[in-house]
């Protein structure tokens, strides 16, 4: 894939191309291709996907100033509009989380945060304690927008933690102000969405207060929500997708070896040290998630929480993009109800956001063979319909991929085969292959067809060990939920 077009150097051609609409096509390819590239770069660099895709992150957490704050983003379909009987109780519960005086509701910020912002934070906090909710909300919105811009400046790594704290704080104040007046459930849902934005992009503040606020809001919301009709529906099964030819015939491929509950020593000696993939059976099959998790359960526990979703089956799709929505919306739009597009809740640290789900999984014991601490292990959720694809790429850490719901077809190539996999030559994408694994362009990528690989169909209860830098390609054969553990 070439990132430059020689024809483009001729200036007069520029106007000509545009007028002819050719440029329009060119723009279309490039504009969206680059958005896609950005995603896959992040896939490979293990930065949480949402944090790299600033184009989708609306600064006001979904509220549009010239629209009423209620009834947005389809939340109204789930949350009734009548005022909550328990609104007073909600406010009491939230207020109880906060310190008594405004002096205590403070962040410890460095000089990197400008004096003007500090002033505005103080002002907003004072207004909050004085009960002037509307004025506090207005200022919180300003701080939120400003800190959001800081979060989008430079690479995510370079973003100062202080700015993430400021962002989280402004989300907190905004969410609280929204809950102050006895509003309807839609306002509460918006407040919860704001909390989720603060959790997704902000840093932990004030004893992880955003989590606590989110839990309270979630509890109050689930009391009010009527039973979902969608919980009765089965995942959509379009005729075309039942085509058996889409399920690879593994008898023609070399498969990943399988072991039943190997000892730590055995695993280390035969697979971790020599860096060989293996499927571990009998290790995860008793995790609570294997019995408990279903569409109904996930909706119940996390339906109103906001998560990042990738839309479009591959990054080369024109319509590929990333967006935010609640889990209920995701299930409704991309899993049941005959979805128009492929949507994938991918590479998201869901278990940090919703600790209740974390209780249903365990960290594989084999992770202790690594050098890192347990709290340094990154746990990601991968939840989507049949047909989601992660193009061939490599990660800089060891990976245990645990399958919970549905099956995934996975192909693995050794790092030694890297040349035959034609990684992109840009810095951004050097750990992503250019090849479409199940439909390779054999003229462009001649060495690919002969490159040896291992493959498998990973089923619920199984864990696949993917050694560090091992190239992997994943396609979901069914509605699927996987949990990955990145460790060193």
């Amino acid at each position: 894939m070439r990132l430059r077009n020689a024809a483009f150097r001729r200036s007069s051609a520029l106007r000509h191309f545009y007028a002819a609409g050719v440029m329009g096509v060119f723009l279309r390819m490039r504009g969206d291709l680059f958005r896609g590239i950005l995603l896959w770069a992040c896939r490979a660099c293990t930065t949480p996907a949402v944090l790299c895709h600033f184009n989708i992150l609306t600064s006001s957490a979904g509220t549009c100033p010239n629209k009423p704050a209620v009834g947005q983003m389809g939340e109204a379909t789930h949350c009734p509009r009548e005022p909550l009987a328990g609104a007073g109780m909600l406010w009491e519960a939230l207020r109880a989380l906060l310190p008594n005086t405004k002096e205590e509701l403070k962040l410890d910020l460095s000089e990197k945060v400008e004096r003007s912002v500090v002033m505005l934070l103080q002002e907003a906090t004072e207004l909050f304690y004085e009960g002037r909710g509307d004025e506090c909300l207005q200022r919180s919105e300003v701080i939120l927008d400003y800190s959001w811009e800081k979060l989008n400046t430079g690479t995510w790594r370079d973003v100062d933690k202080d700015w993430r704290q400021v962002y989280a704080f402004s989300c907190l104040l905004k969410a609280l102000c929204l809950c102050k007046a006895p509003g309807d459930a839609a306002t509460m849902a918006t407040a919860l969405r704001v909390c989720d934005m603060g959790l997704l992009m902000g840093a932990t503040i004030l004893g992880d207060i955003l989590h606590k606020v989110a839990v309270i809001l979630q509890t109050h919301l689930s009391r009010k929500r009527p039973a979902h009709s969608s919980t009765q529906e089965q995942p959509s099964t379009k005729k075309a997708k039942n085509d058996p030819s889409l399920i690879p015939d593994l008898t023609l491929e070399r498969t990943v070896p399988r072991l039943h509950c190997p000892s730590l020593q055995h695993f280390k000696k035969h697979f971790l040290v020599p860096q060989r993939p293996v499927i571990l059976e009998g290790v995860a099959d008793h995790w609570p998630c294997m019995k408990k998790w279903s569409l109904e359960y996930i909706q119940e526990v996390a339906g109103c929480r906001t998560v990042p979703v990738e839309v479009g089956s591959r990054y080369t799709d024109e319509e590929w993009s990333q967006t935010l929505m609640t889990i209920s919306e995701f299930i409704s739009k991309y899993i049941v109800n005959e979805p128009e597009d492929v949507g994938y809740l991918a590479q998201h640290q869901l278990f940090d956001q919703i600790p209740e789900l974390k209780e249903d999984i365990s960290i594989p014991d084999y992770c202790c063979l690594g050098n890192g601490e347990e709290d340094e292990i990154t746990i990601n959720a991968w939840f989507g319909p049949r047909g989601t694809v992660s193009p061939l790429h490599q990660d800089p850490q060891q990976n245990f991929l645990a399958q919970v719901i549905g099956r995934k077809y996975i192909r693995l190539y050794s790092p030694q085969e890297s040349e035959a996999l034609y990684p992109h030559d840009t810095h951004l994408l050097h750990n992503t292959s250019q090849v479409d694994v199940e439909n390779p362009d054999m003229e462009k990528f001649p060495k690919f067809t002969d490159a040896p690989f291992l493959s498998c169909i990973l089923s619920p209860g199984e864990i696949l060990f993917i050694p560090v830098k091992y190239w992997h390609y994943v396609r979901a054969l069914d509605l699927s939920f996987s949990v990955s553990f990145w460790w060193s």
Binding site: R10, S12, L14, Y18, F34, N66, K67, S116
Partner: protein, 376 residues
């Protein structure tokens, strides 16, 4: 400036710290409002929380999160972390003095640092002509940055005429009309067709052969105006600041208002953005990594451009002002807080029979210089 019709400065957008034209109020100003200092102002530089204006008499006046005024100033560059002032030299014939202040100091006490500008044997007029060039410094071989190192040099071969700094990138316009860009590129703001960063100024090859008259840098987007009046845009389009269709605005509009819909073979509706030039539905563009030509309504020719953090303002040769992009704080001047992904004229100036001559944007607001229309 003899013989010119009387003009005045107007402002609109974010005034959350009481800066002009908010005059103490916190609510956004959504329609152009005359600045109080108006008639005497010759330059405006706006940061997020305060605005600095330079009067013809050489006085700089600050409003917003910092309030104050000082004399003997030629030029000012207002940033959140730094207030840079170009002051008259201490004696006749001596070079200007570059001072960097903490904004909170309101120019009282001591500056953070001072740099004497060399007078290179040229006449004072040439030096004065370079006022209004900040962050480019007199001599055009150096510039001020908002992050350390604050003083940075430029290769003389670049023949720098104008320099603009975005949140993570820099744009330079040379005297031959070439455009250079460097810095971070993750949002396509460098215009070289990739998302890679560039450590050193790199020529925009896509614009070779098209001499540019103006460049403007927003937070993450870039705009330039050619000598023939064409506008080119590139970079991030998340709020429509490139006047290209953006998904976030399409989703905010009611589904029924989506401008063009097609039908798939099975007659399911296809939600698309407005129809493109060739009649095919135009897709959403969030990042435009190389320059795209933008047509202003009515085939107008552009004269000047300025960018805020996420919005764009262009002045046409006939004195009209077009704005687009992020509008949440009224910075587009269309009497509301809607964001737009297409150029819209600011009707205020038409209604008041004013001809717009210049525009300069702060991060979340816009300042406009306009004169009364001549009687025909």
């Amino acid at each position: 400036m003899a013989g010119e019709r009387p003009g005045a400065w107007f402002g609109f957008g974010f005034c959350g710290f009481g800066q002009a034209p908010g005059s103490g109020h916190v609510r956004p100003v959504c329609s152009p409002k005359p600045l109080q200092a108006g008639a005497d102002t010759c330059r405006v530089s706006a940061s997020w929380s305060y605005t600095a204006v330079v009067t013809r008499g050489g006085r700089v006046e600050l409003s917003g999160s910092t309030i104050g005024a000082e004399g003997s100033c030629r030029d000012v560059w207002a940033q959140e972390g730094l207030l840079v002032v170009l002051r008259e030299g201490p004696g006749p014939g001596s070079g200007a003095l570059l001072q960097a202040w903490a904004p909170g100091s309101a120019l009282r006490g001591e500056p953070l640092w001072v740099q004497k500008m060399e007078v290179e044997g040229e006449d004072k007029a040439a030096c004065e002509a370079q006022a209004g060039m900040l962050p480019l410094l007199p001599g055009a071989c150096s510039y001020v940055s908002r992050k350390p190192p604050f003083y940075r040099t430029l290769a003389p071969e670049l023949l720098a005429r104008r320099l603009e700094l975005g949140a993570e990138h820099a744009l330079l316009l040379g005297w031959a009309g070439q455009v250079f860009s460097w810095g971070g590129g993750r949002h396509g703001q460098l215009g070289h067709g990739s998302l890679e960063a560039e450590p050193e100024p790199r020529l925009l090859e896509a614009l070779q052969g098209l001499p540019m008259a103006e460049v403007a840098a927003g937070g993450w987007h870039s705009v330039c105006v050619s000598e023939t009046g064409d506008v080119y845009v590139w970079g991030w389009n998340e709020s429509g600041q490139l006047a290209l269709p953006t998904r976030s605005l399409a989703e905010d509009r009611a589904p029924a208002a989506v401008e063009a819909t097609g039908l798939n073979k099975d007659e399911s509706e296809v939600k698309r953005a407005a129809v493109g030039e060739d009649g095919a539905p135009a897709p959403f563009i969030s990042i435009q990594p190389f320059p795209a030509l933008l047509d202003l309504p009515l085939g107008s020719d552009a004269a000047k451009a300025s960018c805020g953090s996420r919005h764009t303002a262009v002045v046409t040769r006939t004195g009209e002002l077009y704005t687009w992009g992020w509008g949440k704080y009224g910075q587009l001047g269309h009497k509301d807080t809607t964001s737009l992904d297409r150029p819209c004229r600011v009707e205020y100036f038409m209604d008041k029979q004013l001809q717009v001559k210049a525009v300069t944007c702060g991060p979340w607001n816009t300042y406009v210089y306009a004169v009364e229309k001549a009687d025909c």
